[in-house]
Each structure stands twice: as C-alpha cells, then as structure tokens.
Symmetry: C2
Subunit: 342 residues, 2 copies
C-alpha cells in the first residue's frame, strides 16, 4: 500500500483534482445555457468534512443540474465495515469488536437533466475511499503510514428519453477512448457492470443506455476484470485512469446537449420524458447504492444527495406510451436488451 | 385459532368485504368528480390469485386515484417467514429447513391525490394475512383446520399540502369514533404508531398529519397496546373492527375533498403541492414496507403497487418554500412535531 501514501497524499491529490474538475464542468455547461448559471453552495459537515454543491435550476437548456464535490471523513460504523471487508480483505477488523474505523472519502457527482426531451440526462461520479488504522487516528482519521485500505470507484452513464443512436455511440466511444490506454478489458468489463448496475428489477428495464460503472478499484486482482488482464494497478496509475475518465465527461456529453437543445418537441414528448424521469427516481431511491448509503448516513447532506432527482417526474397507471412501433418503444426495446455501442 | 376457521372462512369473508368496500368507495368518489370516472382493471397473478385495480387519472377534481383490491396466495420464501415469525410465535417453522410456507393475503388499498393543493391526499389500506400448514397444502394453500397463523393490519392517514386544522380534526375524529367501541386504547395507540410509521428519517419530517396504523392484530396480547387494555380479540371481533375502519374511509375523507376542491389556488401553491408529493414519493419508495415488499415479490403487479405515486412530483435543490412565517411553514411545523387531533 506504499503507493497510496506517496507524498503528496492521494486524499489531497484527489481533492485537488475534483475541485478543478468541478470548475471545468460547470464552466463548460454554462456555455450551453446562457439563461442561467451555476450557483455555488459551500457546506460543512459537522461530523467532519465539507463540500461544494454547484447547482443550476430552471435554466432554458438545463432544467436541473448538479455538479457536487464532497470531501468527508469520520468513523465508519461496523455494518458498513463488514460490507466493505467483503471486497477488501486487507481491512483488518474483527466484526465482534463492535468498533468503528476512521474513513476518508472524496468524490465528485454530476447529474444533468436537460429540459428538451431529445437531450439526454447524464450522470457521472468518481470517488476515492480510504479506511485508516484506528491506532493512528486519535479522534480523526490520519494516514501517515498509509491507509489500511483504499480504492477508487465511479462511472458515467447516459439516460435519454428518445433514442438517437449517434448520441449513444458518441458517448460510449468517448469513454472507451479514455479507458483503452489503461487496458483493453477495462471498457468492456465496466460497460457490462454498468448495464447490470443501472437496472430496475421491478420494471425489468435499464435506467438508460449505460456507460461505465466500477467500484473497489485498487492494487491487485479485481473480481470484474479477467485474470491477467492489463489494469491500472498502483494508486498513481488508478488515479491517472480516474482523471482520464473525469476529463472525458464534458467531451462525451456536451456535444449531445448542444445538438439537441433546440430540437422541437411536442407536449406528448415532454410527457414521455417526465415518465422516464419517474423511472429515474425509482432507480435512485430504491436501488442506487450511493443514494441509499447517503440516506442512511447520520449527518449526510440530504439536499446534495437528492440533487440527482429531476425537477419534475410523472407516474401514470398503465401508461399507453412506450408501445412497440412508436419512437418511445424504440428506446424501450434497448432498455430491455442492452447493446454494444463502441 | 379455532375462531379464524369458523364457517364461512375468514379469507372468504374478508374477500367479500373488500370487494363490496371497493365498490362503495369508488361510487362515493365519483360523486365529487363528474369529469372522469374510475376504470376497473381485473388482473390475475400467475403465481396465484387475482385483483381489481380501480383507477382514475386526470380528473378535474381527482388528479390520480386508485382503489385496489388483491386476493393472492402462494408460497412465502424463508426470509419473509423469518421476519413474520418475530411477531407471530405461533408460526411453527425451522429457519434451517429452507422450506417455504403457503400464505394467503386479501387487502384493499386506497390512495387519492386530488388536484387542488388545498385538498389533502388520503391513503388507506386494510388487509388480512394467513400462513397455512404445509401439510394441508399440496401445491396450494388450504386451511381446513384453520391457518397456522393469521392477522389483520391496516390504517388510514391524511397528507395535506396546506394546513386546515378542521380537516385534520374531522379526519382523526371520524377514525377515532370507529375505533373507540373496540377499546379506548385502540385509537391513541394506533395513532401513535401511525406517526412513527409515516416518518421520513432523512427529512426529519412526517409524511403527513397521520391517522391510524397497525399490523399483526390477532388473538392475544399485542405489543403496541397496553397490557390488559380492551381490544378486539377473536377473528370475528377483529374483522368487525376492520369493517368499522373500512366503513369510516369515505366519511372521514370525502367531506374534505368536497369543501376544498373548488378553492382558488396560485401557481406557487401548486408548486408547493408538487414538492410535497416529492416527499410522498420519497417515503413510499424508500420506507413503505408494503411497497418494498411488493417490489421484491416475484410476480407482484408493479402497476398496482406504484399506483400510490402521484401523477406529478417535484424536487428543488434547497427550495425556498416552507419557511417559518409562511402558510407552507405552518404545515411543516406540524410535520416535524405531531399533534393530537381527536
């Protein structure tokens, strides 16, 4: 684990990166919506840490958008440790002890809901997580000898209401190009993981057209990558991979908003978009691990966590939209059977 | 348990009652909304059972309303049995066996979302649940010797967007009057349970102004009622209590819709109503046991389960509505500190 404790510390490098990325993303998004601009909202977590939620609501192009960073630390309760230990055997912990362990987490989270039903919703999240030795910790997490365990996670995915194949191809291709230098198996493995993760079992459909999703990326073998496959392995290499993915957010998505934001649309197409946003709410509130973890975390900043929810969502009983042979049905067919896009 | 197996069987008596109650409720609701009427949707569950979802969407008075009954049976998986055994020691079951047990469930579920922000949303649900002996069961549940365990559950609660104290008093008083003949402790105990149940921990607020909520009502002592308190005790008595509550749904609620449906309202009041409906969605998708159970049940009818969701809901980041000194804030104060209404 020496790599993770190289000077400067990874926690600081990641914090600096997401702070800079947040500025870049909001500046880029402001270029497609001159009607409104992002507002910064700096907050402090009483249990430890801080964040900056940059949000835009009611824009002509961006109906609701959030680009949030958070850098938090504190004590991880035993059930959370037990869950993490499953994927991180290096966590030295006796569940019978009932003790908590110090943690540190730094992440950026982006959700963009454009107003135009032809422009897709996009979500991305990249994060660094550390569990530290309690012996080092005093009251607060400290990692002079390196963390007990560390990993990165994240991903980026696209959720259109209407199917534009060239949009899906552009989004996936841009992400694939960012991933490929780090190993040929990275994109296909994490693309598959994304399709599995953003699935709504009770609807038997995907939330969207996917992208990539991964968690627990650290040194050594990874359960989702083929044995012996090339992967970023040291903390430095994985951080470089995270930066490549983070830097791909704007080029993967902004062109799609730019080319769809002025498309004409009907009331019926708006209605369909709101129904799809209802499904987005269903996924996030019922299944999304980050949301569930946030809602259960004492002192978590609920407004930032639920920033992901659309401004408006709609539920119809036995809706007559989305049937075969319609534009809406073309999207549904793909949500029920993911395709390769890049 | 002999009382539960009196002829005719409770499962049939409850089925007949909810079928009749559904007709009464939809007929009554139709009287306040001449613009639209309930549509029946009969369905069959391939794993066993059937239902009738009566829904109304897009009415001038009732924006979205559902009055659903379901009568289902099948095999209960071990985790569900283990959970139920906690409150029903009469369930003879070895969790190590990994076997399922036959169950039967009959219930009625009502959710009414009026269009006018001054008219409150109402929810009610009454149900009968049976676990049967596998020895009797063959492929299907059978209860000739009476079920292994049985209980009733349910409740009714009010969720306004604006506070009208007389509405809350009328709603609670009507329910209290239905409960009181069955024991003076019934209403206060189940009112308290309702306040506890319809609570949104991550928002630190109640979903609404409450009503009553109860579960696991069967013969013998009940954990929520004071020791020695009068309670309906036999299956016949509890069924009479359920009928009293079911029959109180229309008189407790319909007058409120009738007197608020034509109130003038502003765009801002509509906006607030949709924000409150967002909280309704949060509660139902994240915490409601019936919804969670339904979403996890293979073969469950998702459209009926999610009928409870409003037609439209809204989420604002750090909304400026609901502050102290406003009409919206008056409601919020009560959602953060429940009051006695009857």
């Amino acid at each position: 684990m020496a790599a993770a404790s190289a000077t400067p510390k990874m926690r600081d490098r990641m914090t600096a990166y997401i702070t800079s990325l947040q500025k870049d993303i909001t500046a880029s998004l402001n270029t497609v919506d001159s009607s409104s601009s992002f507002k910064e909202d700096h907050w402090v977590r009483s249990e430890g840490g801080l964040g900056n939620s940059c949000t835009l609501q009611g824009g002509a192009v961006l109906e609701k958008a959030g680009v949030n960073i958070s850098v938090v630390h504190g004590q991880l309760p035993p059930p959370a440790i037990a869950q993490m230990k499953a994927n991180h055997s290096e966590i030295a912990y006796d569940p019978k002890s009932g003790k908590s362990l110090p943690f540190f987490a730094a992440g950026i989270s982006i959700v963009i809901h454009p107003r135009n039903p032809h422009a897709p919703t996009m979500h991305a999240n990249y994060r660094y997580f550390e569990i530290d030795n309690p012996a080092d910790a005093g009251g607060e997490a400290k990692a002079d000898d390196g963390p007990m365990a560390w990993w990165f996670g994240g991903g980026s995915d696209l959720t259109p209401s209407y199917l534009y194949e060239d949009d899906a191809v552009h989004f996936h291709s841009t992400i694939k190009a960012a991933c490929d230098p780090f190993g040929a198996e990275i994109y296909p493995s994490f693309k598959k993981w994304c399709d599995e993760y953003f699935y709504i079992p009770h609807r038997k459909e995907s939330r969207g057209l996917g992208g990539i999703f991964f968690d627990d990326l650290s040194s050594g073998a990874h359960a989702r990558l083929p044995e012996g496959a090339q992967k970023p392995n040291t903390a430095d290499e994985i951080f470089a991979f995270i930066q490549a993915c983070g830097n791909a957010i704007v080029p993967s998505y902004l062109p799609l908003v730019a080319r769809r934001k002025d498309s004409l649309y009907t009331d019926e197409q708006r209605r369909w978009q709101l129904i799809r946003r209802g499904r987005y709410v269903e996924f996030n509130l019922v299944y999304d691990r980050g949301t569930k973890f946030g809602l259960q975390t004492p002192g978590a900043r609920i407004e930032s966590i639920l920033m992901s929810l659309p401004e408006t969502a709609r539920w119809e009983y036995m809706s007559d939209m989305g049937g075969e042979g319609t534009e809406e049905g073309r999207l549904m067919a793909l949500l029920m059977k993911p395709r390769d896009w890049a």
